[in-house]
């Protein structure tokens, strides 16, 4: 893998006006927090506001490798998977139906915790429809789960004393009934 200095050198040689029309589809290159380099199709990369702003705001050349320090490679793989599919289906007639089918499979392929950590990435990369999807998927998942499960999933510490917890529970004891039996 080339060093940052070498990258700088090659950028200086090849950069040109960013508005240049090229024959082959444009690629945007990013580097994740764990050091992996990804090449994204321009149309997919532009779905992510953070990347879009980085390149568009100051007319930065696509030769620049954008650092995504807060994103792990496995997370970016998942994001690219979702956004590519979304872009592919966007203008199709059965958009909603096909997207729903893809969403169901996407959720099934991940554990709730990994789904939740993708919400941070969706926030950081500013992909509104992806964040929307993740939040709804998590809401659907936790809807009928009990308090312990949700604490575990979100990594929230129970700061109630035994007494305080019982008091809080008496506000709506009926809300703790008829929950999902298969918890984990």
């Amino acid at each position: 893998m080339s060093t940052p200095a070498e990258n700088e050198a090659s950028i200086k040689q090849e950069s040109g006006p960013s508005g240049t029309v090229q024959d082959k589809p444009k690629k945007i290159v990013v580097r994740t927090g764990d050091g992996e380099v990804f090449e994204l199709k321009e149309e997919v990369a532009m779905e992510m506001e953070t990347i879009k702003t980085f390149f568009m705001e100051d007319n930065i050349s696509y030769e620049t490798v954008m650092p995504l320090t807060n994103v792990d490679s496995w997370e970016l793989v998942k994001v690219i998977e979702y956004c590519s599919k979304y872009v592919e289906l966007k203008n199709k007639e059965n958009f909603h139906k096909e997207l729903k089918a893809f969403q169901d499979e996407f959720v099934k392929s991940m554990s709730p915790k990994t789904l939740l950590s993708l919400s941070n990435v969706a926030n950081y990369l500013e992909i509104k429809y992806f964040l929307d999807f993740i939040c709804q998927a998590i809401a659907d998942h936790i809807k009928s789960k009990d308090v312990e499960y949700v604490r575990e999933l979100f990594g929230v510490e129970n700061d109630f004393t035994e007494e305080e917890y019982e008091m809080a529970k008496t506000e709506a004891p009926w809300a703790h009934e008829n929950l999902d039996k298969d918890l984990y």
């Binding site: 941070n120 926030n123 809401a139 809807k143 305080e164 506000e171």
Partner: protein, 343 residues
């Protein structure tokens, strides 16, 4: 895993039904505080605008959900409400609903504002007027209404005492106040219809023509709306609302009707439009849009119809286990507390 952002937690939680949120208030003190914040409650409300039904039948209350899995056969759920099971209960009268709060009267002069989704309730203090004999009594009964005034962020219960004195109870101030005398005559015995921050009742104006009295809740003043030209007698009509449009329906035990009126533009007499419905009715109450394309109406207090506004055709929707006759109103799921002034 790095910590989930505060905004994301709010985003996720605001999508949950009230029951889940009531439970997750026990997750931690932070979550308890967060889910009680007015901003969170407002966000949650904005995500839960799909109307549900609340039905009053045989001294009990039930709810029906558009999202319930079975399409034609609905199973109403029994609702908990203040004074449930009390031996003195009569018909649970429903006086109006706003932002998830419903005002009910399970016994004469016993008013409650409650949220069916969180089961929180408050009892309205006794009205100072109700026990007084009124020399100017126009009619022998009291008529009520319940609504929300967005400009003052307050919920109000209106009582028109014997057709002449008007009193308003403010949930925010927890007190009754007398406002102007009722300016019209022949007030009919149905609870008011609420929309646009005003409560509406059908009655008779000074020129002996029917008029729709509209009480603006924030300003606490009456104005009059004109019914359609061809409606010349207020008797036998009721008001209703369908997605922010006022409706006028004929309620008659002898003649079967097939038409109801909808005021497409609020306050504009010319915008009254006739809606034709294929099935005849003695009484009809428009409820809400059902799954975005059809209109749900209650017919003759005995059944519910899914009505296609394009061609007037109807399909019957069965509500299993519901005794007839029943009264019905719409409400939304929310976390709004009837005791919000205490927070």
């Amino acid at each position: 895993m790095s910590k989930i952002s505060h905004d994301t937690i709010i985003d996720i939680l605001s999508r949950l039904p009230a029951k889940s949120i009531c439970r997750f208030r026990c997750v931690s003190k932070t979550w308890l505080l967060l889910t009680h914040e007015p901003h969170f409650i407002a966000t949650h409300l904005s995500r839960h605008q799909k109307q549900k039904l609340i039905l009053s039948s045989n001294k009990a209350l039930f709810s029906l959900d558009q999202e319930a899995p079975i399409d034609d056969d609905m199973l109403p759920s029994v609702l908990d409400f203040p004074l449930k099971g009390d031996l003195n209960n009569q018909w649970i009268q429903m006086l109006g609903s706003c932002n998830g709060l419903v005002c009910i009267m399970p016994q004469p002069e016993a008013f409650f504002v409650f949220n069916p989704s969180t089961r929180e309730s408050m009892r309205v203090p006794d009205c100072p007027m109700s026990s007084h004999a009124d020399p100017c009594a126009e009619v022998g009964y009291d008529v009520h209404g319940f609504g929300y005034a967005p400009s003052v962020k307050d919920y109000m219960l209106v009582k028109i005492h014997k057709g002449c004195s008007v009193l308003i109870f403010s949930l925010k101030n927890n007190s009754w106040k007398t406002v102007q005398d009722f300016p019209y005559k022949h007030l009919l015995k149905n609870p008011g219809t609420t929309l646009n921050g005003a409560v509406h009742w059908l009655c008779m104006g000074p020129d002996h023509l029917p008029v729709i009295a509209a009480l603006d809740l924030a300003g606490q003043k009456f104005s009059g709306l004109s019914p359609p030209e061809s409606v010349i007698d207020s008797n036998g009509y009721t008001t209703g609302v369908l997605r922010d449009c006022l409706c006028l329906l004929h309620h008659n035990d002898h003649d079967r009707q097939r038409v109801f009126w909808i005021m497409k533009e609020y306050g504009v007499k010319e915008s009254w439009t006739r809606i034709l419905i294929a099935e005849p009715f003695f009484s009809l109450q428009p409820l809400c849009y059902w799954k975005n394309t059809k209109i749900l109406v209650a017919r003759n207090r005995r059944e519910m119809l899914l009505f296609n506004p394009r061609d007037g055709t109807c399909k019957c929707l069965l509500a299993n286990g519901l005794q007839v006759p029943f009264y019905v109103d719409v409400y939304v799921e929310s976390l709004v507390s009837p005791n919000f002034r205490l927070n």
